[in-house]
């Protein structure tokens, strides 16, 4: 039992903090902090700076750009990045397909994809969910049929986040419709988004943004060499990928930043003749939220310090579940601090006296309903906890 970081970890934290706050352009960090849309160019610029410094994919195998960090150091790296409002390395690249190719791809695929994936020279998107396969992902119906040296893909994916920027897609497809277990007939294919037969339809979300898309495949020809790993083993890779996705999903640093922001805004708003931050019920609410977040952060630290083998810990479901709830609670707090100002949500800069933070509060709150749905919905996490941990 030891409260303090070791001198090495303390130095590591300082190094990360200094790097993130001095090497990533302030304009990009300001946009992230203000909840503005981050452009493709900004994502790419930030990730290339990180990659140049060896900070984009530290959790990958060392030969592909990974660092020999402890789980605690990875945790510190991620938290400091979020606290500094640095756009995190694109999850589809850094946390999803990169580790899958590194673990299950062949040498040619590794050489072809991994350096470009780390540097965001290739922007990946995820082709998993389908209109009839959400939480029940294994029910997916997009098919790939072998024809000579190609796979021919037909079907539809949905909720494809930032697909509009994507160069490539990694896609779960049904390659054996006769498999006894539906999980056993699935494979993972990768192919360019500009392949003939791929079309993309943006879906507008409640916040007015276009973050997710539907992707349609009509006789898309994919070379056989673009199969990742073994045929009909795609479900194993998907589970591996989703396990990685849940690591770091607590997003404690990002929620901390939102609470600090809410406290500052609440000091500048008058309610009942005094600053809102002096309202006892507001203070109590903030105190409770901060305590829940501290409990979560400490739990995340406990999980990382106990998982030296790097395997996803079933307790990571707790982090996902509670982490998403607290992110949502923080966005809700912002809306309540903004109060009536939050109604100016879609006003143009030159047409309103309402400050930007109050205008983005409700769109952000509405957008953040997603966090308890993606990455395995919170109901899926409860199922994992009840089954895997409690044995129910």
């Amino acid at each position: 039992m030891q409260l303090h970081l070791s001198p090495e970890d303390q130095a590591f934290r300082d190094e990360m903090r200094t790097f993130f706050t001095t090497q990533i352009p302030q304009t990009i960090r300001d946009d992230v902090a203000a909840h503005r849309e981050v452009s493709k160019e900004q994502y790419v610029e930030a990730q290339r700076i990180l990659n140049e410094a060896g900070l984009a994919v530290p959790h990958w195998p060392a030969e592909w750009g990974g660092r020999d960090w402890t789980p605690l150091q990875r945790h510190i790296w991620r938290e400091e990045m979020q606290l500094a409002a640095v756009p995190e390395p694109l999850a589809f690249n850094a946390s999803m397909i990169g580790p899958v190719i590194a673990a299950f791809g062949n040498q040619e695929q590794k050489e072809r994809f991994l350096p470009a994936t780390a540097n965001l020279d290739i922007w990946w998107c995820q082709g998993f969910s389908e209109p009839d396969a959400g939480s029940d992902l294994a029910s997916l119906r997009t098919t790939a049929v072998r024809d000579g040296d190609d796979w021919v893909v037909n079907g539809q994916k949905t909720w494809t986040t930032l697909g509009q920027h994507a160069d490539w897609i990694f896609c779960l497809v049904r390659t054996d419709p006769t498999a006894e277990k539906k999980q056993r007939g699935i494979s993972m294919l990768v192919f360019p988004m500009n392949s003939p037969g791929v079309t993309l339809r943006p879906i507008e979300l409640l916040d007015g943004g276009f973050e997710v898309n539907e992707v349609f495949f009509e006789d898309v020809r994919v070379p056989a060499e673009n199969l990742i790993g073994e045929e009909n083993r795609g479900w194993d890779y998907a589970k591996f990928l989703l396990g990685n996705e849940r690591v770091g999903i607590a997003r404690v640093g990002a929620t901390k930043r939102m609470i600090v922001d809410a406290k500052q805004r609440a000091a500048g708003i008058t309610s009942g003749g005094r600053p809102l931050i002096e309202d006892p019920s507001m203070r109590a609410r903030i105190a409770q939220l901060e305590n829940e977040l501290l409990s979560l952060e400490l739990t995340a630290l406990r999980v990382v310090s106990n998982s030296s083998d790097g395997k996803p810990n079933p307790a990571s479901s707790v982090l996902k579940l509670r982490g998403s709830e607290l992110q949502q609670a923080a966005t809700e707090l912002m809306v309540d601090v903004a109060g009536p100002l939050s109604l100016a949500s879609f006003a143009d800069d030159d047409a309103t006296d309402v400050p930007e933070w109050a205008r983005v509060a409700t769109p952000e709150f509405l957008n953040y309903r997603k966090v308890s749905i993606y990455g395995g919905s919170n109901e899926v996490q409860r199922t994992i906890i009840a089954g895997t941990i409690l044995g129910l």
Binding site: M1, Q2, L3, H4, L5, S6, D9, Q10, L72, L83, K256, I259, V260, K263, A267, I277, P280, R283, A284, I286, A287, Q288, E290, N291, E292, L293, L294, S295, L296, E297, L298, T299, L301, R302, S305, N306, A315, V318, L321, R322, E379, Q381, R382, T383, I385, A386, G387, I389, L390, G391, L392
Partner: protein, 382 residues
């Protein structure tokens, strides 16, 4: 930063767990808590033999010189089987105060016998009409010659009737001082009774009762009391975590074995999801309890940091204890409300712990006073 216990600490945990699990199952606990003093003197003596009752005291005072990490391990095992022995009440709280405030002579005189199990020392502090304040008002101290006398009522005092020695807080000169009162002192009337959690508490009436000042001088001891209560709260957080763990495990087992509509209850997602939420609550409070213990143990922690960490532990213990305690009964159904079955006793003890030294709402108010004095809550101090 390290949340794990070392080999010696694991050995201590296993020894204490072995002793307490042999001493208590739900039926033995019911039998023991039926009779005064509400705990088992033999188990108390065995804990003393093991060195547990002297854990946090300096070796010079007759203790083991261990830290709060060791205290936390013991408290967790106590909670796991709901052992009614007043470990936190006596060793951590009353002993902690003597340790912090007493003169070397007083420490040796009071802590040695406490550690040996030959003298039960408790802190008589609560007063009817006020709640969770670190100062005393209803009991007052008057100087008479070389000594002092105390008058007023302390209630409820855990194990107050059984105690051999009482450490009593009393108002003096606008502040609060601490006094040692012997169980056989004149003008001391103690009425013990049973509380809902099976422990004994007492009304302690003092009428010109002779008392010895604890420590040197009559400087205000409010801060010392506040800190001792904070450290005891952190120990209670661990006792509560142990209790919550058993409550959840008992509930999970029940869901697997109890059948209704021809199937085990674990087939009903409405129930298993609630058990999953209990697990989330448990893991969160476990984390903050361990962290608070590390804050208490860290040599460079300021008193403010210890008080804040204790408030954070109190708040999470209250939230989680209420959640898990109530759900444990509900998921069992009617059997959970009976005294014959174990799980409801866990809820009862969690409710007692919540209200002994300051509940979640009380801790929230204290934390809320400072929310605009900092940006983020720092889990790991530099």
């Amino acid at each position: 930063m390290d949340f794990t216990f070392d080999t010696e600490q694991h050995a201590l945990r296993e020894a204490v767990a072995g002793l307490l699990q042999r001493a208590y199952d739900p039926e033995k606990r019911r039998a023991v808590t039926k009779e005064d003093p509400g705990f088992d003197e033999k188990t108390w003596a065995q804990l003393a033999e093991m060195g547990v009752l002297g854990l946090p005291f300096a070796e010079a005072d007759g203790g083991m010189g261990a830290g709060h990490a060791e205290v936390a391990l013991v408290a967790t095992e106590i909670g796991r089987v709901l052992a009614p022995e007043p470990f936190v009440e006596s060793v951590v709280l009353a002993g902690g105060l003597v340790s912090a405030v007493g003169t070397p002579a007083q420490r040796a005189e009071l802590l040695g016998p406490l550690a040996e199990g030959s003298s039960l020392v408790v802190f008589a502090h609560a007063e009817p009409g006020s709640r969770w304040t670190p100062s005393a008002t209803a009991v007052t101290a008057t100087q008479s010659g070389d000594g002092w006398t105390l008058s007023g009522v302390k209630e409820p005092v855990p194990s107050g009737a059984r105690a051999d020695v009482l450490v009593v807080s009393a108002a003096v000169d606008g502040g609060t001082a601490l006094f040692v009162v012997r169980g056989d002192a004149a003008g001391l009337t103690r009425d013990g009774y049973r509380s809902h959690d099976g422990t004994r508490v007492a009304r302690v009436a003092l009428e010109g009762t002779p008392a010895e000042l604890l420590g040197e001088g009559t400087a205000d001891r409010t801060r010392d009391v506040e800190l001792a209560l904070a450290r005891a709260s952190v120990a209670y957080a661990h006792e509560a975590v142990g209790a919550m763990e058993t409550a959840l495990r008992t509930t999970s087992e029940y869901l697997k074995t109890r059948k209704q509509f021809g199937v085990p209850l674990s087939r009903f997602q409405a129930l298993t999801f609630r058990a999953a939420d209990m697990y989330v609550s448990l893991e969160l409070v476990r984390s903050i309890a361990l962290w608070a213990t590390m804050v208490v143990d860290a040599e460079d922690s300021t008193p403010e940091a210890v008080l804040a960490a204790a408030d954070r532990a109190r708040l999470q213990t209250s939230t989680a204890g209420r959640h898990i305690g109530k759900e444990a009964i509900q998921l069992h159904g009617g059997i959970g409300v009976t005294a014959e079955y174990s799980v409801g006793h866990y809820t009862s003890r969690l409710t007692a712990i919540d209200h002994l030294l300051g509940d979640g709402a009380w801790a929230t108010n204290r934390l809320a006073e400072r929310v605009d004095a900092y940006g983020t809550v720092e889990a790991l101090p530099a």
